[in-house]
Point group: C2
Chain length 326, copies 2
């Protein structure tokens, strides 16, 4: 129960997910008092499916990953991952320090056989619903073989967790022609074309939103830059809307009239509705929530983790990578 | 006068730029008939500053760069670049095939001394006006030294062409902490920190819009992906606005009321108002216009080229790189 805020929103989010899903149980890891306080008033039917697991410390948001592994063995993050390792939990959800979560999950759970590196995957709103993109920042470089593994894992998540049959996979590049791009994407392109995946070839950045593909594969450097660029542009457009709709009485009135429609569009693009990034390729399910997630967003991340666990995601990824060799 | 459309819009754009700038002269390179047709009706004061240079062929938008260099010696693109090489033109503006333009410009003009690779640089709307970003796709990889050269060139363009005193330069990465990123950005970070530039350090994708820096430096792969991602997201948001404001009578009325404000915001973000990407690092000025540019946008690109030529951009870049060694 680390993250940017006190645990109230995350406990409330977990309760929300439990209320929506009668088969779900939650282990809330953290210090007793704030968790007990946040649980007060929960309906008995939900409360009965919550268990508290004590943790005496937290991983700070700016703590270097290696320090966290070495020094935070009693942190809520570490204990939650340990619960997955021990088989006591089917999945771990955290809103904490991303780098530390990734490093600890790698260290404790290890990657699946035939997986060299785990990747971070998330859903991004697009013309056809959502595009699923990885790696969003777990690794700053990727070999062609690792990109192929990301593609395989991404296709399984798109199918098993998001219900997309035969997902179309694209490899992010600076052009769609076969000759485009550097040596790494060229070699990955050849591997993917020879794979059993529904590989459509190279795509450019605009394909993230166009609906042309279901899964966009890239290295964690490019993926993270693209993600932060999207977030920055969306914030910038939001600021310009607020600025101009507040610039005069006339504009403020126009803003009031347009507000219901603008709110609906903002909701469609709202990261809360697609909160939860899967760390794919580990021997266990770990979902990263946004650090600033409120209860609605955190509930989405919990539901995503539950869905991934029930669909047998880990086993399916292992199987797909075994079939394809590594 | 190649590009996605017939030359009418580009001739009209050139005339517009000439009308705004009494000292400017234009050489219009292409086949006579469509250019003469587009010139009809131009005021005499403008018409007197236009000269037609015949070209019998064009570079197709999908023509591979190497083919274009080898086979299109009589194309409008090649002749326009040759005019710069010969000193008959102070700058070349083209809305044609970007890859072919870059390759031909490299081949004919060559890079400046101390410049290993030229880069594509453009202005992107941001909270403080514009951020200037390079490389947007000329090179799919860049060494640390090349990134340092891009930073130096970018700072000179920001100063001389866009009037930004002591521009703040950021290096695009997956985090702002010194330890973040792969070996190439780590090494470039060290080179930049030791340079005379006003280097603020690593920035993430959202800094393109936040106003935190004036120049964002990255390799052409990452830069192109970020640019296309922005374009894709802006188009997607535009589509959602059109969809929702057209979804019912009530929403259509709301859309009519909000339209003046939405139009102003769209204009701020409109690529036409910042059309024109500089190919920096060459022995001559080459500006790439969007292929779909209309007259307003093309006039912007022509004015940008004129401004770059008058400011002595090429000499200043050469000087800055000489001072810094290479």
């Amino acid at each position: 129960m680390s993250g940017d805020h006190e645990p109230r929103e995350r406990v409330a989010g977990a309760l929300r997910a439990l209320a929506d899903d009668a088969e779900l149980r939650a282990l809330l890891v953290g210090s007793a008092e704030p968790i007990e306080a946040a649980l007060r008033g929960a309906p008995a039917s939900v409360r009965a499916r919550v268990e508290h697991v004590a943790a005496t410390e937290i991983v700070a948001m700016d703590e270097p990953p290696r320090e966290a592994i070495r020094r935070r063995k009693n942190s809520s993050m570490r204990i939650a991952i340990d619960l997955v390792k021990q088989g006591r939990a089917a999945a771990c959800v955290s809103a904490g320090n991303t780098g530390a979560l990734m490093a600890m999950a790698h260290f404790v759970l290890k990657t699946l056989e035939n997986v060299e590196r785990a990747a971070i995957m998330s859903a991004i709103p697009a013309a056809h619903g959502h595009t699923h993109m990885l790696d969003l920042g777990a690794n700053t470089t990727a070999t062609p073989e690792q990109l192929r593994q990301f593609a395989t894992m991404g296709a399984i998540v798109a199918r098993d967790v998001h219900g997309i049959e035969n997902p179309r996979v694209g490899l992010l590049n600076v052009g769609v022609e076969d000759i485009k791009g550097h040596a790494v994407v060229q070699a990955a392109h050849a591997l993917l074309a020879a794979s059993p995946l529904n590989y459509v070839g190279f795509v450019e950045g605009d394909a993230i939103f166009s609906g042309a593909v279901d899964v966009v594969v890239t290295d964690g450097f490019t993926g993270n830059v693209a993600l932060k660029t999207m977030e920055g542009l969306a914030d910038f457009i939001g600021d310009r809307l607020r600025h101009h709709f507040g610039a005069s009485v006339r504009n403020r009135i126009a803003g009031l009239v347009a507000r219901p429609v603008l709110r609906r569009i903002a909701a469609e693009l709202d990261p809360r509705h697609y909160n939860g990034a899967c760390m794919v390729g580990l021997k266990g399910i770990v979902v990263k929530s946004h650090g600033r997630a409120d209860r609605i967003a955190f509930a989405r991340a919990v539901s995503l983790a539950a869905h991934a666990a029930r669909s047998g995601l880990t086993a399916h990824i292992a199987q797909a990578l075994e079939t394809q060799g590594s």
